[in-house]
Amino acid sequence: MIRSFPKGGVHPPENKLSASRPIAPLPLPETVTIPLSQHIGAPAEVLVNRGDTVKVGQVIGQHKGFVSSNIHSSVSGKVVKIDHVLDSTGYKRLSVVIEVQDDEWIQEIDRSAQLKQEITLSREDIIKKTLESGIVGMGGATFPSHVKMTVPKGKKADWVILNGVECEPYLTSDHRLMIEKGKEVLVGMKLIMKALGVEKGMIGIEKNKPDAIAHFQELCSSENGIEVFPLKVKYPQGGEKQLIKALTGREVPSGGLPIDVGVVVHNVGTAHAVYEAVQKNKPLLERVVTVTGDHLETPSNFLVRIGTPVSKLIEAAGGLPGDTGKMINGGPMMGKALNSIDVPVTKGTSGILIIPDQQSKRKPVAPCIRCAKCLNVCPMGLEPYLLMTLADKELFDRTEQDRILDCIECGSCSYICPANRPLLDYIRLGKFRVSQIIRSRN
């Protein structure tokens, strides 16, 4: 049976233009810019100075505290600048700029293509290795992965869910990774399961990726306790809470975490990175990035070193089309618009989407006719039209009562609204203000 989350959701055109393009390594750029904050939590503390020589895989940023992540050099060369540089979020962040010289890796990294399946490390060592290797959620949330591999006191994990849904239109990096590195991903998943002390695993893949489903069903046929589930093509199927509901029937409580219902979800990209870190000693220094767009010459999937300027990826995909109107870091539903293509690829960059000019502008806003479409597509059971009105009128107490903080910002409401109302913009504003109010209470 095809599973799905029960309530809400939309089905935007899938446009997986690059689905059949194998992952190709991108040539090394001349310089890389590596921000010290590529994750949720405290920025890493810089360990190198201007003029230092670094090797591929060398730690250049030390994690600060538990919710933080190490940063590694993705290239070998000379540190030419340590400064605040614009990154893909639109803010300037402290970054290490390295001029690339050769491609010299640190000794410890096993660069052979050989699959290493047997798991020798203990739970503690797997978690430690994940922390040291700077692994964060690679689906885009960039939450430090070692935190999600530790079960908090008093909680119990029953399942590890591997998120291979990739419900964002256009993006294909997870899809390609599952086809080309399926075995590695599966070992990574088992490492995560071992770290959490979990016996049962589920892999959720939308059924628009039949090759990936077939591949994993074959790989898992000899595995005890790991099952593959095809999922209905519906956005946001890959939302953590929606995926858990679809696969286990459990609902993460409002304000709660997946572990509250005994589930931990990791993205396939993360599982692959955990494999490389634990089995191959390779820290997170490169990732798969989809470069795509309707008018792009060759939509592609590249293996890219962290810190590579986005412009290099676009060049390799045929250059920026003349009618470009908008450039997005991520997919069209949840990605962020870029104001420059000089920003670096970071750990959370799953795709770069180029939108033509005529599709990049929003249509004029019309009055709400209460068609209830926003309410019907909201996967969290909220009333977007009401939250927008309340936020607009600055009635933040009432937005809080109406659970504005439950919003996962999937954008289904703004997508569907026939009056082109910027529902999510106002809900974001409301969420921001409500969070401020809650903080001021304590």
Partner: protein, 333 residues
């Protein structure tokens, strides 16, 4: 690349559907009923409809532009829908100046007073219809007898609706069986050969439009089906108790403005509830009120008042029928 790139928050794509398209969909769904009406009552149907639509659009434009001093948005088609629906609940032989007055009340009082599209608590077309109905009862209840295309534009033969005949007859203690013999047969009523407002006579054509709107996902099946179901059950019970005093459910379903009201007026987005649960309450309310007014009230026809009364409850219904929140039932562990 153009020098200016767009920076805006997600989502960056949008579904194709627009307010204008939804309104066009409703208008397309009304075409069969319009065609039947034209066939039954002749060219005056076209004239009344045109006058109604044009005056609705004109009043919306003028009020927005000169009284509210906002950008008129008559291009979204909502004024056209109001105009057509208003015309559909008028008799084909109504004096045209009354149509203009009705349009002014619909748009002016029913819609723009509250701030225009999306803010009106009551269905604008019904506000206009009820205003005319109470102000000009004679003209509003002398319906032309359907004579086909040859119906002359003036001096048409007029008569009462089946519901009117029934009410009058029961009041005069005439036996129900005799009354039923004087009104059109069920089949005739089904395709529209009876006295009545322009758009309300053709049940078949209205149902056709209903299926179109469901197919196009403009409305869901809930409100119309539940209204009709409630009316059928309620009148069925009355009929079962005393068939000499109460008409059968089929008669009630096919007569008067019930089909038109249930399918096109009660489902107006702005004035109906947001959730399915809310729609159920609202629709049952309309069904029950319709039958109560038809059977026990002073007027033969009840659906117009029933919808307006339930319109008033919509904000309350919305407050108490919120959607089920994700993760609501569980305690935060």
């Amino acid at each position: 690349m153009s020098n200016l790139i767009t920076i805006s928050p997600s989502p960056h794509i949008h579904a194709r559907e627009s307010t204008g398209q939804l309104m066009r969909g409703v208008l397309i769904a009304l075409i069969p009923a319009f065609a039947v009406s034209l066939w039954m009552f002749g060219w005056s149907v076209l004239i009344v409809t045109l006058v109604s639509v044009l005056s609705c659009m004109a009043f919306e434009y003028l009020i927005a532009r000169f009284l509210l001093k906002t950008m008129p948005s008559i291009t979204d088609g909502s004024a056209i829908v109001t105009g057509v629906l208003l015309a559909f609940c008028l008799p084909a032989n109504i004096p045209l100046w009354m149509v203009v007055v009705g349009s002014l009340v619909s748009i002016g009082i029913g819609k723009m007073t509250f701030g225009g599209l999306g803010n009106n608590p009551f269905n604008p077309a019904l506000v206009g219809r009820v205003f005319l109905f109470l102000s000009f009862p004679v003209q509003m209840t002398s319906y032309p007898v359907p004579m086909g295309f040859d119906t002359p534009l003036t001096d048409a033969v007029t008569g009462a609706t089946p519901l009117g005949l029934l009410k009058e007859g029961i009041r005069n203690s005439e036996p129900l069986q005799d009354l039923m013999n004087n009104i059109p047969q069920n089949m005739e009523m089904f395709y529209g050969k009876m006295g009545g407002s322009m758009g309300e006579v053709a049940a078949l054509a209205l149902i056709l439009g209903f299926f179109y709107m469901i197919l196009k996902k403009i409305i869901t099946w809930h409100i119309p089906t539940i209204i009709l179901g409630t009316v059928a059950i309620f009148t069925g019970i009355l009929w079962f108790i005393d068939p000499t005093q109460n008409a059968n459910p089929l008669f009630h379903l096919l007569t008067g403005g019930l089909m038109l009201g249930a399918i096109y007026m009660a489902t107006d987005y702005v004035t109906s509830p947001m959730t399915i649960r809310g729609m159920v309450i609202y629709a049952i309310g309309i069904g029950i009120l319709t039958v109560i007014i038809r059977r026990f009230g002073a007027y033969p026809e009840g659906v117009q008042f029933a919808i307006l009364i339930m319109n008033a409850f919509v904000p309350l219904i919305n407050t108490y029928t919120k959607p089920k929140r994700f993760g609501e039932d569980l305690k935060n562990g």
